[in-house]
Amino acid sequence: MKRIYVREEWCIGCHLCEYYCAFANSGERDMSDALRGVKINPRIQVEDADGGVTYAISCRHCERPRCVEGCITGALTVEDGVIRLDEEKCVGCYTCIMLCPYGAINPSDAGKSGRSRPIQKCELCLNNANGEPACAAHCPNRAIIFEEGGSPCGL
């Protein structure tokens, strides 16, 4: 299946992926409407390590997903290799957050409707109007790519 791969040596630390992720998942049509005055909580996150090293991390869609195995509600499932979240079922127990070795599932902000959305994760933009990962499409240095390939090894 097509997955997101990150090439740390090409990452320039611009954090654009985070903004495009937040926009893609905002439900807004216009990027400035989506992001103006908003403290973003994206599903891809850039780590800034010592020595100027940067890289982006989002769900790896593991072949052996510990989050899905441990999910207490059945809200996390695998569909065609993609780990999907059923926001209706999730109660926000954070067991998945305790189990993801990448730290790629995070607490979510409340939705615009005010309804609580306890967790969020990358669903390869299949859950929004984009349809293909916005982070990879807009990475200016091709440090994030969306390509066919195998599952990562994990820890």
Binding site: Y5, E8, I72, T73, G74, V91, I97, Y102, G149, C153
Partner: protein, 416 residues
């Protein structure tokens, strides 16, 4: 081949999915005393709190049994296992034959021998039926006494809090959540709960109850209208111990779930695990463990050996908006000065190290990305090979070398 599963919760679901990963043809029968579709038991507190409903509590979709071609015997209790005839006996007298049998019968609430308890009304909090009975007994004026300040007792308190007058909790141990928290962390969480109106009687056994007042060991008299017993659970192992299965506190199995009896497996809260943090056998009654034990047993019953060897304690609990995440063991060797890194209620972090490994941790408040710590415990990563100081405050993958990180994030796809 005919596979019979006794139980219909997490371990049973894991087993069904494990069997079907290896064998699409095997005949599977699930026997359960409960009359309902498989549901997530930890959600009963969320149900009473109004944060989920019966439909969303389903642990698997409504067509789960049909899709997996599982025959269900709901409302049936197994009264005996006949290992010679290779059959289970139901309460209606029916015999169901098996080639492989899985006991995934979980546990039941432990009701301590408190004077007066046996003859007076009280509630437990484990099943959907328990939750419904308790719900029916509550009024906006109820004074509720919960015996036990463990995970079940405190989640129960959260679930019913807005529907009752007041809640008192009595606990034998000197602190709340004694199985997962240290003294400092427990004190922080307790003050949060006291702020929500709960009252605690700690280090205090309940000596007797009479239906409306509990007498505590220290002499205090606690009046109540509704009594909830949340003093732990007892594994349901008797069906197999009666015919000679080896057991400690729960059934002893290999890492594929095999008991000491031929063709009989056990998984979930009725089976012990080997805790990878110390190599000891214990009951790790947590949902992810039950699922993975069940799945390994399911695969093995279907002829696929994929041992589950990664059992360890991992707990995640939210109480009135405050999250707690703990994993591994709460011990340090050698005993070192091991004060929490931070002691703010929104960010309490304590790490336990032993022999150059992170063996456990307690986080209260901010638990984001805690799975990175869990992975360090599980994989027994030598701490001197990573920059732990850089991630003590905030878990990040920057602790690892670029080469290790590349492998973790991209796996086989290292160049392109």
């Amino acid at each position: 081949m005919r596979i019979v599963i006794i139980g219909n919760s997490t371990a049973a679901v894991g087993a069904i999915e494990g069997i079907r990963a290896a064998d699409s043809a095997a005949n599977i029968a699930v026997i359960s005393a409960e009359m309902v579709h498989t549901y997530s038991r930890p959600l009963i507190s969320y149900l009473l709190e109004g944060k989920t409903d019966i439909d969303r509590m389903k642990y698997r979709p409504a067509d789960f049994y049909e899709r997996n071609n599982v025959q269900t015997f709901f409302g049936c209790t197994v009264t005996a296992v006949d290992a010679v005839a290779r059959a289970v006996v139901l309460d209606n007298g029916e015999h169901i034959g098996y080639d492989k049998l899985l006991l995934a019968a979980g546990s039941r609430p432990f009701v301590p021998p408190i004077e007066g308890l046996c003859g007076t009304e009280h509630y437990t909090f484990q099943s959907l039926a328990d939750a419904k009975s308790l719900e029916a007994a509550l009024t906006p004026k109820s004074r509720v006494l919960i015996i036990g300040a463990g995970l079940i007792g405190l989640k129960c308190a959260e679930g019913i809090h807005s529907r009752v007058g007041n809640i008192a909790v009595a606990e034998f141990a000197p602190r709340i959540l004694p199985s997962i928290l240290d003294g400092g962390g427990a004190a922080l969480v307790q003050s949060h709960l006291v702020g929500k109106g709960l009252t605690f009687h700690l280090g205090n056994a309940v000596a007797s109850v009479d239906g409306h007042t509990a007498a505590l060991a220290d002499g205090a008299q606690v009046p109540y209208d509704v009594l909830v017993v949340a003093s732990g659970v007892k594994p349901n192992i008797e069906l197999l111990t009666a015919i000679g299965a080896k057991a400690g506190r729960a059934l002893i199995t290999d890492s594929c779930g095999r008991t000491s009896l031929p063709d009989i497996f056990a998984a979930g809260d009725c089976a012990e695990s080997i805790d990878l943090t110390d190599g000891r056998r214990r009951v790790l009654a947590i949902l992810p463990n039950a699922y993975l034990q069940g799945r390994a047993a399911g695969k093995a019953m279907a002829g696929l050996e994929e041992p589950f060897t990664e059992a360890m304690p991992v707990n995640s609990i939210g109480l009135f908006g405050l999250h707690i995440g703990t994993a591994g063991a709460m011990r340090c060797e050698p005993e070192t000065d091991n004060n929490p890194q931070y002691s703010d209620v929104n960010n309490y972090r304590r790490f336990f190290f032993s022999d150059n490994r992170l063996t456990g941790f307690i986080l209260i408040g901010d638990v984001n990305r805690a799975g990175i710590y869990t992975a360090l415990v599980r994989a027994k990563v030598p701490i001197d090979t990573i920059n732990f100081a850089a991630i003590a405050e905030k878990p990040q993958l920057m602790a690892f070398s670029p080469a290790a990180r590349k492998q973790m994030l991209n796996g086989e796809k290292n160049d392109s």
